[in-house]
Symmetry: C2
Subunit: 799 residues, 2 copies
């Protein structure tokens, strides 16, 4: 159901207007809806967006709108696969044009291409590092300003009474920041909401999420995350870095910006999905690398979450981008921190240095770590469960941008209030050390020379709170403080994730985990007589943080490396691994990971690593879509236009066939052509009759296709006259003459493996005589999944 689904944070409205307006047209984007689409460009976009929502049906003015907007389909649930998402094509279209170009290229030209790939990766890393640096400095400055203001206010009113004014000030400041952050997200670019990690996962998986790698998205994302962090929400600035890196990569690698209408005429060779995907992996890795100072972790993240075919050279380039990214960030931050040239403190988040001697662990602690991992897995699953229902609720009832902004402001105000109340009633006073590490120690009702311990957790950016929990000496927090903090922050963070703000979930997860981890450490020390064994609760804070984060996002390999790189100490590699594994196993027992959950709620046709285990009894014959709309090698223009305009055609790719015998027999496969290619051909009027009459017409080149990539115009924008409809088009040169095919009896796992390993978009199913009998696309494979009752099939819907 169009209107309900699209409010899931990122399959949101932009997706509709974007897909219809600028991307390849939707399959149901028939001619009738053209007026709407034309309207939706420019500034009226928001209104249209709102018009087509469920509970505003009375406002719907045109027939077309109601056809799109009315909830005539089944209500949204996660057992649904949207037909709205298109696929990316990671298989090169090796048509004659392409092969000719490749064959013309010398070995040196390939060398140059390879060098430009490295240069682009370097650029991606550099720019990602710069953006990370910008975010970091902006957040630090603004948050510093805010906390200083509030602290002065609190100090003023602590003596005089009337702390409620401080509370109001705090809540108002937070709400204001968050309001700004939410407005730009909800109204300008809804796809920029959340951490962006699910979107990038989908992109790397091969699903085209509209507008996800646009310049506008990047700007909204970066500005949005600054305001949500400064606004004191329970969010981190790390997740958005990954998205930012990916957008940068997609932009830089194309050598132009479609939004700014600037084409630098460089890197034209890379204007196709295959190459773009590789660079986006590098960008995502560079983002992780900048966020956590973890270049290796970044590479592993890209590979664990995205890649399928592992290519050594690609991996090295990704690594290079990651490296440059950390390097750039370090370098500029070292200048900012007045220690120019000191590169030893990488990353946006810095967990501080764990000293090896103090932090050794022993065999008998391993079971404890595993138990903590299990707790983390359980809590993570609970977090995801709550968030799942919250998201469903949001999809149903909080889908208007203004409602979204109001919800974000509410959360901001509540966060401030809860924090204030907790601090106010806390009696946990700690002496202010000589080298007081707290940036903003709040004295409140504590004695002179003491500070409120609860305030160190709440009255700070989450990054600093995590560091305090890891490193503050034993006794800094009492158990009650930590317990209350864990409880409240858990629900706040859960409520926050999924708001229409740009924000990540890494840091809140770490913070929750660090709090209960430290609590465990304190409890252990107090229950055992040999207290010296459990001296350092910071160790348990680290383990708890890993467990909680692992329980929520369910990454293992990359997360281990990220944690190890962020703590700067490999001693804890082994326990962290154990903990993450345990958290994953326990968590998976109850609920999927947070990102997977949101992908599922978005009804995205996401392909997992392998076909479902019990799917061997399915064959290509059952899986494929049929009948297939085929085109002849030499086809009438009118037929092509009609085929493309036909709303019932379900595919973006058309097998090209040659008739051999009678018309009754299905024709033999001789190629595959894409909608986007046909559009370009129509636009340039590459018609056989025309070519004959005007000999001067230049031959269509690969460049024409590259120039149109990736925003191919919809078929409706191309005018074909009645005369032209009678012309013929020769597709031989443009089609892919050697598409991958499978016989009808191929089992689903085999089809799946071929499809996934090669990143295909269309797989033609042929019979023994090489005649087309069907076409397998992403949705045909993605709809099978293992549910509670064995293999289940998801419904397909035009949501």
């Amino acid at each position: 159901m169009a209107n309900i689904t699209k409010k899931v944070s990122w399959s949101s409205r932009g997706d509709e207007s974007g897909a219809a307006g600028e991307e390849t047209p939707l399959l149901n984007g028939s001619e009738q809806s053209r007026p709407l689409r034309q309207m939706s460009s420019g500034s009226t976009v928001f209104q249209i967006g709102r018009l087509s929502t469920v509970d505003l049906e009375e406002e719907i003015t045109t027939e077309e709108d109601s056809a799109r907007g009315r909830p005539k389909e089944i209500p949204h649930n996660e057992k649904l696969l949207s037909l709205k998402f298109e696929s990316l094509d990671y298989d090169n279209i090796e048509n004659q044009l392409f092969l000719e170009e490749e064959r013309r290229m010398s070995f040196m030209a390939f060398r140059c291409l390879e060098i430009s790939r490295w240069v682009i990766c370097g650029l991606i890393g550099f720019l990602t590092g710069l953006i990370a640096c910008f975010i970091d400095i902006a957040v630090e400055q603004l948050a510093g300003l805010k906390y200083k203001l509030i602290k002065e206010n609190i100090v003023k009113f602590t003596e005089a009474g009337g702390l409620s004014i401080s509370l109001l000030l705090w809540a108002a400041l937070n709400s204001f920041c968050v309001m700004f952050g939410a407005i730009i997200v909800a109204f300008f670019e809804p796809i920029a909401a959340g951490s962006g990690i699910p979107q990038i996962k989908c992109f790397l998986n091969g699903v085209k999420i509209p507008r996800v790698v646009r310049l506008k998205t990047l700007v909204v994302k970066v500005v949005g995350v600054i305001f949500s962090v400064v606004g004191g929400l329970a969010v981190g600035k790390e997740g958005p870095m990954i998205h930012s890196g990916a957008v940068l990569a997609a932009g830089v690698s194309q050598g132009r910006s479609t939004s700014l209408k600037r084409d630098f005429k460089i890197f034209e060779y890379f204007r196709r999905d295959t190459e773009k995907r590789d660079f986006v992996s590098a960008g995502a890795a560079a983002g992780v690398s900048a966020a956590f100072g973890a270049p290796v972790g970044g590479v592993l993240f890209s590979l664990e979450e995205g890649a399928s075919f592992w290519n050594q050279m690609l991996t090295w380039r990704i690594f290079f981008a990651s490296m440059i990214s950390t390097f750039t960030l370090n370098f500029f931050l070292s200048i900012y921190h007045n220690k120019p040239g000191d590169l030893s403190n990488p990353g946006l988040i810095n967990f501080g240095r764990f000293e090896s001697e103090a932090m050794e662990y022993n065999l008998y602690e391993i079971p404890l770590f595993i138990a903590m991992g299990a707790i983390g897995g359980g809590l993570g699953a609970f977090f995801n469960f709550l968030n799942y229902w919250l998201t469903i609720f949001r999809i149903r009832y909080v889908h208007r941008p203004c409602l979204q902004v109001m919800e974000a402001m509410l959360v901001a105000a509540v966060t401030a209030t809860v924090a204030f109340v907790m601090i106010y009633f806390s009696t946990d006073c700690q002496p202010l050390g000589p080298d007081h590490t707290e940036e903003y120690p709040l004295q409140l009702f504590c004695a002179d020379g003491e500070y409120n311990s609860m305030a160190t957790t709440f009255f700070n950016t989450p990054e600093r709170s995590v560091r305090s929990l890891f490193h503050n000496p034993t006794g800094t927090y009492n158990a009650l403080t930590l317990g209350l903090f864990t409880l409240t922050y858990f629900f706040l963070a859960c409520w926050t994730y999924g708001l229409a703000v740009s924000a990540g979930v890494f840091i809140p997860s770490l913070l929750i985990g660090a709090a209960w981890g430290r609590l465990c450490g304190i409890l252990l020390a107090s229950t055992t007589s040999t207290a010296s064994l459990w001296t350092d609760p910071g160790k348990y804070a680290l383990i708890g943080a890993a467990a909680q984060l692992g329980g929520i996002v369910r990454m293992t390999l990359s997360l281990t490396v990220i944690m190890v790189e962020a703590t700067g100490n490999v001693t804890y590699g082994l326990p962290i691994m154990l903990v993450l594994m345990t958290a994953k196993i326990v968590g998976d027992y109850f609920q999927e990971g947070l990102y997977d959950l949101h992908i599922k709620l978005g009804s995205v046709p996401f392909l997992h690593w392998e076909a479902p285990a019990t799917s061997h009894w399915l064959t290509a014959r059952e899986v494929m879509s049929s009948p297939v709309t085929c085109l002849n090698r030499i086809e009438k223009v009118g037929t092509i236009v009609d085929t493309l305009s036909n709303t019932s055609t379900n595919h973006n790719g058309f097998p090209v066939v040659v008739q051999v015998s009678g018309d009754d027999e299905p024709a033999k496969l001789c190629g595959l052509i894409l909608r986007s290619q046909l559009i370009v051909l129509l636009k340039h009027k590459v018609f056989v009759e025309l070519a004959r009459s005007r000999l001067t017409q230049r031959k269509l080149q690969l460049k024409d296709f590259r120039d149109a990539y990736p925003r191919f115009p919809p078929i409706q924008s191309i005018h074909v006259s009645q005369d032209e409809r009678e012309c013929m088009m020769d597709l031989t040169e443009f089609m892919n003459p050697t598409p991958y095919t499978v016989p009808q009896d191929t089992s689903l796992p085999r089809v799946f493996k071929l499809f996934r390993a090669l990143g295909l978009r269309h797989l033609v199913v042929v019979d023994d005589d090489n005649r087309v009998v069907g076409l397998v696309t992403r949705k045909d494979l993605a709809r099978y999944h293992v549910g509670k009752h064995g293999l289940e099939e998801l419904h397909l819907a035009q949501t």
Copy 2:
């Protein structure tokens, strides 16, 4: 040329007798050579081995021997691709039997399979850890014994004069140990020579190197490495761990030992190449993990060097195996070192802890690091260049086992002599510190309370020497000592690699690098006035070690992680990356990496990551082998036997076809069957006529194929009577009915991608009517490579 090639350390003799005797028969293994093969089993194997060498032609006794042994082919060079190596098949044979089994399996059964995979990975990790532990303790004990003996002797004779007796003792002890190590390798299992890393790379790439994952290989490898390290050669014990882990994995995952003739009737499902490969990756990772205490590095090693299709679940299992491996090793070593339960010191090699504060680096040091990387790359290329010619020399002249043993003994004696002479003439005396870290300080002619500095580098196991170079305080070594040491050790290590002993090249490389790195540090400190900047030469030793190792083996990502994990400090991650990248780029300019060089010298059909850049003008039509020997779906037994026995058939896979029209037309493809399957069918006499007459004959099951895996008997061992020859065989049930196919016009890169991504062994080329026109196998793709003059084609030879 059979006799010359086979002495390249690992395409050596075992390969010939092994392949012919026990593996699937060689393609040219016709019936005439059967007497020889039968002779070659048992104790006469050495003699046969020697008989079939070039310069012993006069000893050749039989016609068959001369046919195999005479140098009738072109002389060996690296522009040759051996047809002798078979491929592994990473594509599941989804025939009816398999599909029936899969369809019968419930979801729970798949769960159980998944759990057994985890259990197996755990077992692999555990056993690899145990073996690493055994090697470590054995080396430490034996080396301790040796050095104590020599030290006492030296002390005795320093005063009395007659140190030449000490020299003799040292050389004799070394030679004796090495002799033993070389004898078991050269005579019992030549495949166990060297580090084993190239072999494992090939295995994971899909090349079947005979005998490489046998139990006997493991035993020889483990015992061999102990003796070569104790024998004082310039070798490490780390490389062989990777091979050991892989062998263990191959054994454990099959639930039986063919060598010991024990079948535990477990894990039968995993008895095929696809599954075995996955476990071998895990084993290799566990080996790296145990060797360097680097679980993440292990995973990356497996992926960087081996995998092509990245599967998340597989990666996690590999990670699990690595983790368990380090864990086991740590645990047992902690007991051995009397600190039970202290798990903070992982790995066989321990670089010692780098303290973060003392070791910070600054921006202006980055160019220095890069320069050192370039030096490392250059030196590494020089090392590889020397070793390349040495290997060619060995292939030509040192191929008899007894010569190999003698060469190894010579190297051992020379190593001892050089070390002794260097120590003897060294005047670099250092005061013995209060906490003298040296295990065996040699006083020699130094004053009392002082020790000979040169002796700390030579008179020690290489691992300890590396650690000393990293951590000994400033001034421990003088520049001359380090310079001389680098020079001599460089040539010794180069001479040593490729000997018929089980040994790795990691540690010697690190040692050379650490020596010249430290030298750089000392020189820098002495040339600059602001000496305080370059206080710690240990830092430069680390960078030098990374540069040298990177220059020799050319790994980047995994090596970075391994170095970081082994040093226990991530601060140096960034410089190490930079250095490794530089070393790789500089090194690649001159010469390939050491492992790739040895793979090339072995004429192995190794598939790289991508097709050569300028290969777009080649299509499947040019690449494929044709005509193809096809079988009919219902074929006469006699035809099958003749086909399999025919020496001119070049393939192990046969397309199965059905005739549709006249006999003159090529028939339509309907499946693919492997030689190994046909062998099993013939062995069980699954003939149509027989089945009809004896109704009780049981149906052939998947189990029968699994029991025969992987050592299928040669066709000559199967007796088929004249009556049986007239029977028919129905292949329908056993063939793979949906082999992957490509049209004739598919470009080479496209064929390559399909082949590599899916790990195929046979790819059928069909025409428009689905008729078989050719077959592409590994050698067809591997023979194209980019040389100095663009695309070159390697020669194929039955070497």
